[in-house]
């Protein structure tokens, strides 16, 4: 039993939960200081995230862009680049998707939808490619370029939504709210559980998670990406064009973020407007890392993190605490969860060594059957 409690498999699940609880405890003190009942608040949070069909639907809706961004982050990180340009890539993806869908609004819905999502992904990819090429060709650090590109995308959005893409209705009404015209209904993503906002994008995201897994671990492209990420000089030695794969990692990361933007447009907002990126560019990184940078791990991670965000809103609404408190608690959760990982790693290293040693000593079967890596 004690052995089980120290096993990485158990800790892997138990520790993040313990970390969340610890963060909640500190948050609870803050809640209490603000005159709210922490138990009630967290109960509401939990219920708001997972407690009913509509709660689950809201969580899944939020999970969709998180998962999409996280998939891109998985690829980027595996390729050895730190993509913090998700926000910008979401924005340009959504902008281009919107412009495209409005331009060809008379196409049949399914075709328009498909093309629109593609355009979103391609534009995100192009935005990622700027950072990618700058890094691959001119060795410009991607942290710097993606931070700057986020700001540039934001201003691009301001410019387009205020001028060229401004909703004619807004002009007519003289209100000039910075948002685009609504997309044709024919191309909206299917709503899965009306009246909730849950839409077919979640299915797309889940399918893509599996595809990204296959890409990274079952194809030669993925093998190259991971080799370049782990050891560029070995990759060069193995004949891989390292700069290309560095750029590709950022391009694919951008493609997924851009797709997330397009999916938000086609599934949720049905138009482009400010605030669409919703911080997913950053929370997607968190989700990806929660999921251990594994596309399949990103699924539960995005689900949990999405639930946390949804439940937190519900908590604000019900308990009437300032939104800032919830931001602070989220920050604590993120910090505590990553901090707790060290114990999982240590446990894994310990058992790994034990297993290695045991099998070396027995010497009976120097080679095992297992073949997954």
């Amino acid at each position: 039993m004690a052995r089980f409690l120290r096993s990485p498999r158990f800790l892997e699940i138990a520790l993040p939960i313990a970390a969340v609880l610890a963060a909640f405890m500190i948050g609870g003190v803050l809640l209490w200081l603000l005159g709210a009942n922490p138990f009630e608040a967290y109960w509401v949070l939990l219920g708001g995230a997972f407690g009913s069909v509509s709660a689950l639907a809201a969580t899944l809706t939020k999970m969709t862009p998180l998962l999409l961004v996280a998939l891109g982050i998985c690829i980027s990180y595996r390729g050895g680049v730190i993509n913090i340009g998700g926000e910008g890539q979401i924005i340009v993806g959504a902008l281009a998707a919107t412009a495209f869908a409005l331009w060809l609004r008379d196409l049949p819905g399914w075709l328009l939808l498909t093309l629109t999502l593609l355009v979103g992904a391609l534009t995100g990819a192009a935005w990622g490619a700027i950072a990618g090429v700058l890094k691959a060709r001119l060795n410009v650090n991607e942290i710097l370029s993606t931070v700057m590109l986020n700001a540039i995308a934001l201003q691009l959005m301001n410019f387009l939504l205020r001028g060229p893409m401004l909703d004619p209705e807004q002009i007519a009404a003289g209100t000039n709210i910075a948002q685009s015209e609504a997309l044709p209904r024919t191309m909206w993503l299917l709503r899965l559980a009306p009246p909730t906002l849950l839409h077919a994008g979640i299915i797309l995201a889940l399918v893509l998670a599996v595809l990204v897994y296959l890409l990274l671990w079952r194809t030669t492209i993925g093998y190259r990406i991971r080799t370049v990420g782990l050891n560029p000089s070995a990759a060069r030695y193995a004949g891989m064009p390292v700069p290309f794969y560095v750029a590709l990692s950022l391009i694919l990361g951008g493609a997924f973020a851009g797709l997330a933007g397009a999916v938000e447009v086609a599934g949720v907002q049905h138009r482009m407007l400010e605030g669409l990126s919703g911080g997913y560019g950053f929370s997607g990184i968190v989700a990806a890392l929660f999921g251990k940078l594994h596309p399949l791990g990103a699924i539960p991670a995005a689900f949990l993190f999405g639930g946390l965000l949804v439940g937190a809103n519900k908590m604000q609404l019900t308990v009437q605490v300032p939104s800032a408190l919830i931001t602070a608690i989220n920050g604590l959760v993120v910090m505590f969860v990553v901090a707790s990982e060290v114990y999982v790693r240590r446990a894994r290293r310990r058992t790994g060594r034990e297993a290695a040693a045991a099998s070396l000593q027995s010497d009976a079967a120097p080679v095992t059957q297992a073949s997954t890596f």
Binding site: L166, A178, G275, Q316, Q320, A324
Partner: protein, 325 residues
């Protein structure tokens, strides 16, 4: 103690059963920024609080969700409030319109309101949405008149967030007001590109001052930075939306504030009379939705001119024509 399944009532009105006592009006607010942004969100929250003080805590219950810049989150909250027995759900931002149109039909007993817009959804057969629109151009016009009177250098600096929405309306009105008062006066306009870049707003104010401006104005929450700079340089500031004199009483000459109290009262009254929506309401000088608060330090002649403009806008003798920029 174990977590309680059903949140206790008392201080937390939101979770109570839908069937509330008849004479209690329950209002929920959805705000894109915070209740202390000293601009857009604060202005309506303050008005609602004032109304509550007027009507009594037991007659008006308030709940709010702030920082709802993400529309789906706001939509979820709107639905939640409606389902929880709120009589009136106010979505204080134009971006929430589509969500509202979708949600409102599911809750025919509940009134919704949103701004800034003129769309009530009546054309789609929706009857329980009020649309409201503060005439930011009127606020801009009056402050423009005041600023034109105040400036000696004949240069005014305007620090805007982005050139869109309410902020754009304000700028258009401001320019018209200045031009009507003194065509010689030049208005330098700059935008920081966001609502929250306090540091850049401050530097914009500095730049305006360097470029010769001796009166400053601007809108959105970031202007606190600019107000600080105005104060430091002893240059008068003119505020809009909320009462910005709280930030620096000696610097802020006037604030053209949005007073939502009357509008809220109107909506509540209409609702009591059985009209759940379908009307467009405006905040104007005529209906007291916009008021200007003048500082004692403001020169009398300037205040007089501004007040004349107020009156003109109120009685319709002044109409604002926005010029292309």
């Amino acid at each position: 103690t174990a977590p309680v399944a059903a949140p206790a009532g008392g201080a937390q009105p939101a979770a109570e059963a839908p069937a509330a006592a008849d004479d209690v009006v329950r209002v929920a607010l959805l705000l894109p920024s915070t209740i202390n942004d000293i601009a857009w969100s604060q202005s309506i929250y303050t008005s609602l609080k004032e109304l509550q003080a007027e009507m009594g805590e037991d007659k008006l219950e308030i709940a709010y969700s702030e920082n709802m810049f993400n529309v789906p989150d706001a939509a979820a909250a709107i639905r939640e409030y409606a389902a929880n027995g709120y009589d009136l759900v106010i979505a204080h931002g134009a971006q929430y319109g589509d969500s509202l149109m979708e949600i409102a039909p599911d809750f025919p007993e509940v009134s919704f309101a949103w701004g800034t817009s003129t769309r009530t959804g009546a054309d789609q057969g929706i009857t329980n949405i009020f649309a409201y629109e503060p005439r930011g151009d009127q606020a801009g016009y009056v402050t423009g008149v005041l600023a034109a009177k105040l400036t000696k250098a004949k240069i005014i600096g305007l620090v805007g967030p982005v050139d869109a929405g309410d902020a754009k309306l304000h700028v258009d009105g401001f320019l018209a007001g200045v031009k009507a008062t003194d065509p010689e006066v030049k208005v330098n306009v700059s935008f920081t590109g966001s609502f929250g870049d306090t540091a850049l707003a401050a530097e914009a104010a500095n730049t305006h001052i360097k470029a010769g401006a001796d009166v400053l104005t601007g809108s959105s929450q970031q202007v606190v930075g600019a107000i600080g700079v105005a104060k430091e340089n002893g240059i008068p500031w003119i505020g809009v939306q909320a009462d910005q004199s709280t930030a620096a009483p000696e610097t802020v000459m006037a604030s053209a504030i949005y007073d939502w109290k009357q509008l809220l009262k109107d909506i509540i009254a209409k609702r009591a009379a059985g009209t759940l929506g379908g009307e467009v309401l405006q905040l104007t000088y005529a209906n007291g939705g916009i008021r200007t608060i003048y500082s004692d330090a403001a020169p009398a002649d300037a205040v007089e001119a501004a007040k004349a403009a107020e009156a003109g806008l109120a009685d319709g003798s002044i109409t604002i024509v926005a010029e292309p920029r």
